[in-house]
């Protein structure tokens, strides 16, 4: 399967070419190149998936295949970074997800970004992102993953800051990069600690079932936990940073400053699940070596899911709502991993997590692209500027509805299957976690339909764009359905969302690589469907027609509402830490210290020397006769000394 290398090389080439020519080529040419390349690699990854899932099964277990492999840099006898391609069920699945969504986004952007300044740059960045994300998922060792992890971070930075003249976009890009960088620090430390004890970076060795590399760390503890626990916790923090787990979630909502297709690709479907992928990749290590960290993952995931869902209920910017929904859904996947066992039925969580990753990528991308379509039509992100759009945009309306139903967990849409597995796994682990997750699922259904009704139903759309001044594109004032390039991805993804649930996922992806038969736990399934339906009903009552209920509720729970819409003040806490503590209380005094203490000491030496020299300068008066006196007296003195002593 040597051709898998092309999947990596093509987008890289596309990035280099598009990046170098920049604006010298016409936007159309650049867009075509980017899209065609993505089309090719999508086809290639489908081929890979087909070939892998049909041939790689040995003794009923999917083997890891490494078709390409080279040493990149050697550190010590044992430690070396390799660049290679590792194919196993989860990486193959990720290949499919990434290329599909990326391809759709590329097509979509042809129309969405039409006429934007820097169109070529946009496509170059998209290719860079795709390249790095693909490199991340096929990494053969943890350091290769780290390399691509950073590349993904920077392409996210570049894409969020695409509208670089907008201060808010620049700030958001900076924030995203720095927050994830902060998390990556722990990831790196985790890698360092892990490699110090295990003397390897290789996934094959680390995640083998009966590995001996951890023997060296036995008994080594720090603050009551084993060193490997610390290392794995660090690696999880790295993943939490990318996947926006509490308390590192603050960058994701702001990242919505980027173009909407970018949000769909990076901040919904692919990059943000890198953390989940990381934990899944290390799952055997977590499970066998450090179960306590794995449980920690579950608790943090559960809290994040709840937290984000609550905030999502009150946001008014549609992309922000989707962003918090993304955080919440990723937390679902994290919970699933945290509660999972290893083998057979125990391993439901792992499988469910991957399944949810897959389905979520599709319907969340769909939601974002749909939202982009809406924004494209009304030139605003705010819910209050929308309403009644179903008449103008039927395709968007229907596809959006499908996605909402999927995320709410209504059968037969894909979300139902994956979410149901997660819930049942959670109930098996602990009823509390299960309860929380069910509640979050209900909230999800509620806020998604709040969003849906607010956009497409509710009050009738009034043409007011002129008054807003948004409309400098010269578009007509009535919103209209998007062109084909934008509609096609919506329809495609909606189709996938409808049918993805019936993929025999357990046969393809599971924690051990062996088959796993999905069986739906009817109690949990019925309960969750009922709860979701009730939530949808509530949302329908509240938002389908303009009504006073939401306002009343808002008044009743004023404190909660304000706190939630201010995102529980987490941003302010961060701002306080960075601005007040780091910038003002550390950096400023340090700069002062450097200038006025250290530098002043050095200057002090010089000044002392100068002072002394000024003082003794008087001796050198320039008066030749004084010199003569001194000379004469000196001579006499020396002569006297010589002769009389």
């Amino acid at each position: 399967m040597q051709y898998t290398l092309l999947i990596l090389v093509l987008p890289l080439l596309s990035f280099i070419v598009l990046g170098l020519v920049d604006s010298k080529w016409k936007p159309k040419v650049a867009g075509t190149i980017g899209t065609v390349v993505l089309g090719i690699i999508t086809a290639l990854s489908y081929l890979t998936a087909w070939e892998y899932f049909t041939t790689a099964k040995i003794n009923g277990v999917y083997e890891k295949i490494i078709p390409m492999h080279m040493e990149w840099i050697r550190f010590t006898e044992f430690l070396h970074i390799d660049l290679g391609i590792l194919l196993d069920p989860i990486s193959v699945m990720m290949l499919v997800v990434i290329t599909t969504v990326s391809f759709m986004v590329n097509i979509y952007s042809l129309s969405y970004m039409h006429g934007e300044k820097g169109f070529q740059r946009y496509y170059a960045f998209l290719s860079l992102f795709t390249f790095s994300m693909l490199g991340l998922v096929v990494a053969t060792n943890i350091f290769q993953m780290y390399i691509f992890w950073e590349l993904v971070g920077v392409s996210s930075f570049l894409l969020i800051g695409f509208y670089y003249t907008k201060p808010s976009a620049v700030a958001a890009a900076k924030k995203a990069f720095i927050v994830t960088r902060f998390a990556d620090l722990f990831f790196l430390l985790g890698i360092l600690v892990l490699s110090f004890y295990t003397k390897t970076f290789d996934f094959g060795i680390l995640t083998a079932e009966h590995t001996t590399v951890f023997a060296g760390s036995a008994g080594a503890t720090f603050l009551g936990f084993g060193v490997i626990s610390w290392a794995m916790a660090g690696i999880f923090i790295g993943g939490a940073g990318k996947s926006a787990m509490f308390p590192l979630q603050i960058w994701l909502p702001d990242a919505m400053e980027g173009p909407t297709p970018v949000s769909a690709l990076i901040h919904a479907a692919t990059m943000v699940v890198a953390g989940v992928f990381l934990v899944a990749r290390f799952f055997p290590v977590y499970y066998f070596q450090t179960p306590e960290v794995l449980h920690g993952v579950a608790y943090i995931g559960a809290f994040t899911a709840l937290f984000a869902a609550v905030i999502a209920c009150v946001q008014t910017d549609i992309k922000r709502v989707l962003a918090f929904s993304t955080i919440s859904q990723i937390a679902f996947m994290m919970v699933a991993l945290g509660v999972s066992g290893y083998e057979g039925h125990e391993g439901t969580g792992f499988m469910a997590s991957m399944f949810h990753l897959f389905t979520h990528a599709m319907f969340k991308a769909l939601l974002f692209l749909g939202a982009g379509s809406v924004i494209h039509a009304v030139h605003s992100n705010e819910i209050k500027d929308m309403g009644g759009l179903r008449k103008y945009m039927p395709i968007t309306n229907w596809t959006f509805l499908i996605a909402c139903l999927a995320i709410a967990g209504i059968p037969p849409f894909s979300g139902f299957f994956s979410k149901d597995e997660i819930l049942s796994a959670s109930y098996e682990f602990s009823p509390y976690i299960g309860g929380i997750m069910t509640f979050v699922a209900a909230l999800t259904a509620f806020y998604m339909f709040r969003l849906y009704y607010s956009i497409f139903w509710g009050k009738d759309y009034t043409v007011k764009a002129a008054a807003h001044g948004h409309d400098d594109h010269g578009h007509g004032h009535t919103p209209h359905e998007s062109p084909f390039a934008m509609a096609f991805p919506l329809v495609f993804l909606a189709t996938v969302t409808c049918f993805a649930g019936f993929i025999p996922f357990g046969k393809l992806v599971s924690s051990t690589g062996a088959d796993y038969i999905i069986h739906i736990d009817s109690t949990v399934a019925i309960m969750s469907v009922v709860i979701a339906s009730i939530s949808i009903l509530v949302a329908t009552l509240m938002y389908r027609k303009p009504s006073a209920t939401p306002d009343k509720l808002e008044k009743t729970f004023k404190g909660l509402h304000t706190a939630a819409s201010r995102r529980f003040y987490i941003d302010e806490v961060y701002l306080f830490i960075t601005k007040k503590i780091i910038f003002n209380s550390v950096s400023r005094p340090l700069a002062w210290f450097d200038r006025h203490i250290i530098d002043a000491t050095m200057d002090g030496f010089a000044n002392t020397t100068q002072w002394v020299s000024v003082r003794i300068k008087g001796v050198q008066s320039g008066q030749v006769q004084q010199y003569a006196y001194v000379f004469l007296l000196g001579t006499l003195l020396i002569a006297a000394l010589v002769f009389f002593i």
Partner: protein, 112 residues
């Protein structure tokens, strides 16, 4: 008393030559230290040089008769004195042009 005896004995002793040059020399020293005109300082220097010459010659004549070291030393010193005077006077005249004064006390601009 020895000196007197020597004098009466019809010979000029070496000390007297040295004494003469000593007086000349310290007259020069006094002039160098006390006068402010650069020309006066130069004159004092000439006195001192001359005293040195006289010493050289005296030592040569009394202590190493038949050799010529001191003699040549005096000769060359005279040459050097001439050079030095020439250059010094050139400088003095130049200074006078610029400062209209040849007072040595004014000449400390180069110390900083």
């Amino acid at each position: 008393m020895d000196i007197l005896n020597n004098i009466l004995a019809g010979q000029v002793p070496m000390e007297l030559y040295l004494g003469v040059s000593l007086i000349m020399f310290f007259a020069g020293v006094y002039g160098f230290l006390s006068r402010r005109s650069m020309l006066m300082i130069l004159i004092s220097i000439e006195l001192m040089l001359n005293a040195a010459d006289l010493n050289f010659v005296t030592f040569n004549r009394y202590l190493f008769p038949g050799q010529l070291e001191g003699f040549y030393f005096a000769l060359f010193t005279i040459a050097i004195a001439a050079c030095e005077t020439a250059v010094a006077i050139a400088i003095i005249i130049n200074i006078y042009r610029n400062l209209s004064s040849v007072e040595v006390g004014n000449l400390d601009q180069m110390k900083e």
